[in-house]
Amino acid sequence: MVGLSAGEKHFIYGGIAQDLRTDGRQRLHYRPISVEIGVIPQANGSSRVRLGATDVIVSIKAELGRPSSLHPDKGKVAIFIDCSPTAAPMFEGRGGEELSSELSLALQRCLLGGRSGAGAGIDLSSLVIVEGKVCWDLYIDGLVVSSDGNLLDALAAAIKVALCNTGIPKTTVNLGASPNDQPDVDVSDEEFLQFDTSGVPVIVTLTKVGRHYIVDATSEEESQMSSAVSISVNRHGQICGLTKRGGAGLDPSVILDMISVAKHVGEQLMSSLDSEIAAAEASAEDQ
Amino acid sequence: MAAASTAGGSGGGGGGAGGFGAGDMEVEAYRRLFPLPFYERYLQNYVRPDARPLHRARDTSVALGPIASAHGSSSVKIGDTTMLAAVKLEVMTPSAEAPDEGSLAIEFHMPPICSPTVRPGRPADVAPVISKQLSDVITSSGMIDLKELSLISGKAAWTAYLDIYCLNSDGSLFDAALLSAIAAFSHLQIPLVSLNDDGRVIAVSGEQLENNSTIELVNKEKRKLSFQSIPFSLTCVLHNKYILADPTAEEESIMETFITVVLDSMGRLVSFYKPGGSVLVHSSTIKDCISLTKQRMEELQNILEDSTSAMEE
């Protein structure tokens, strides 16, 4: 928890009302974002994203698995987020569990689409090797190293970057003699396929403080929020997920207003992420 | 509730405490502070605070088939104690020792909604005890012939999963649970099944049967269980010379000695349970409890018959 004096609270409220926040940003400005890729060599893809003092790492591993009987033509994706005790003292012991599961759930909702698989950010059918028999299981693990607000946006951005960085090994399949046999799969350790990440959305969280809402709130600002709406937007301007936190109710028209703002901010965030990824890839190649 | 009962215990021990302040205290406060003296005043007149005579059970009702998705289900109300029971059948391979028998799996649940004392993550202590008692009584009474659950000897048999949920707990949980179990089994309709090409048992709907007369049914005759004898139970709470049939939760918490008698429909004793308690029992009391159970059994048989005929109408 953030302990703030009455004066500090007043300062935060007043700054937001006048569109000049305590760190000099405007209401709809993100903190500078920094991106690194390939931070975990043994993973298939990984990234580290920093938004101000918020610092998250995401690793992606691909393992061979069996498609579920309900969706034989689709691979599987599992998302787990862990809040490290180093990030905040309240994450110690089992303190971070609730937040961890909440974040995992929100990300799953935004990235994996509806029950039928429509609108999924990750194309699950590209993960199938032999229909009904073999597929890739993607394990997306996120770690919150340091927390200064807006974890969900940072994690979603980190997942997007890590997916760009992910190479899925090429496979050759020897079908067994009978159709009931489990086929042999040879996994190449030299050739990798790039993952199509064009559909992966970003998440924009709008935090309502007083009568206004802001993006990319710091934890000081989050402690003063009445409610927050996280909206995930993809490249085509479609909404892929929406969740709300905080007790206070919102007028329906405010939510619709937030959605249109999030679409606009999401576009900017997406393009700045794209250029950061390109820069990170270039520097990785230089080394 | 726990705090109230200890206060009552010391008050009762004092003897004179029953008279203390009774005149200038509100009835509800007196009931909470000195529950035992409060009850004793009623018992002297052979009546209980809910206006029942000592030996009468609360109003009991049975409804069959509340859960549409189960093969057999029932809901039972004894006073405010409410039980919901459902039977689901699944197919299993019978064990080598008993190749032509099915099996029963009985579980009694007390979800947090049923009582203020049950909290999520901390299951009630009595739930597994009642679970065990129920499966002991149902198996040992021989009510269900496990051979009737067999489909193909040595190959396939039914496992009947009986789940009983206590929706509201107000005393005599075992009696209500047993009654709901019996009602659910009497409502049980075994689905028609046949074998598919892989040797697995599959369900057959009536529609398929009409369209395709070649389907060979495995269990054309065995759609209902025939009961050999049905066990019925009555729990009584004992206090000094008084026997209180079908106690409420309040009565159970104040008077700690209780006896559960289970008789089957032929009048044979199936089970007798007296887990300690401060009252030591004469054999005459036991006889009284058994004859009370016999009376109760006739009531319950009528209620069950009524519920079945109400279902058929």
């Binding site: 709300k244 | 599959i202 369900a203």
Partner: protein, 255 residues
Amino acid sequence: MATNPSTYSPSQSSERKQLQQQRRRLFQETDWTRFDGRGFQQCRPAFLKTGAASAASGSAFAAFGATKVIVSVFGPRESKKAMLYSSTGRLNCNVSYTAFSTSIRGQSSDHKEYSSMLHKALEGAIILETFPKTTVDVFALVVESGGGDLPVIITCASLALADAGIMMYDLVSSVSVSCFGRNIVIDPTSEEEACQDGNLMITCMPARNEVTQVTLTGEWSTAKINEAMELCLDACSKLAEIMRSCLKEAASAPS
């Protein structure tokens, strides 16, 4: 418990799968009829009743089609010993399913996700200041699951809170819609939910015109969100009317 060797349900799984694929194809078309004969914008008939469980401070039972839920409210009562002092009251929510709630018998279990969603949907409506230092427990049991479980749980819980006399700003009602291709279908059943492209659930306090919780999955255009939200809000206010009349009836009935 007697541990049995593996058992299976005799209803054929491959057949069910075929049926589901068939349905999924059907749902993509613009015009189809729902299996229970409802229109796209027609909710299931709702049955609500308060005071089902006498052991609780307040309780409610809700049946929406095949979905049946019981909610009991306990308290306000003493908070757990380990809890720190709090000048406002606490709300504790738990949702569990019965073993026979779904068509395939499962283990009865707590539903962590729904528990936290229920908490978020209700906390904004309850005036926590009215019971400082104490806790109100809201426990829900899903007796049968027939689709749209969470909205039914939330609606039923708010009714149980009202029955328990817990102070609230307004009743909370909740409705969800499914999206299939271009169609929006209100109050889906579990068969429909299994094939949906997207889902939007809105929880609101109709008299104050405030949304306390909203979740959305799948890919939506803004215009479609507009349409779906309007549909939900309208259904929520109608549902709240039913809840109000249920409470009025309970209050005027001779006890």
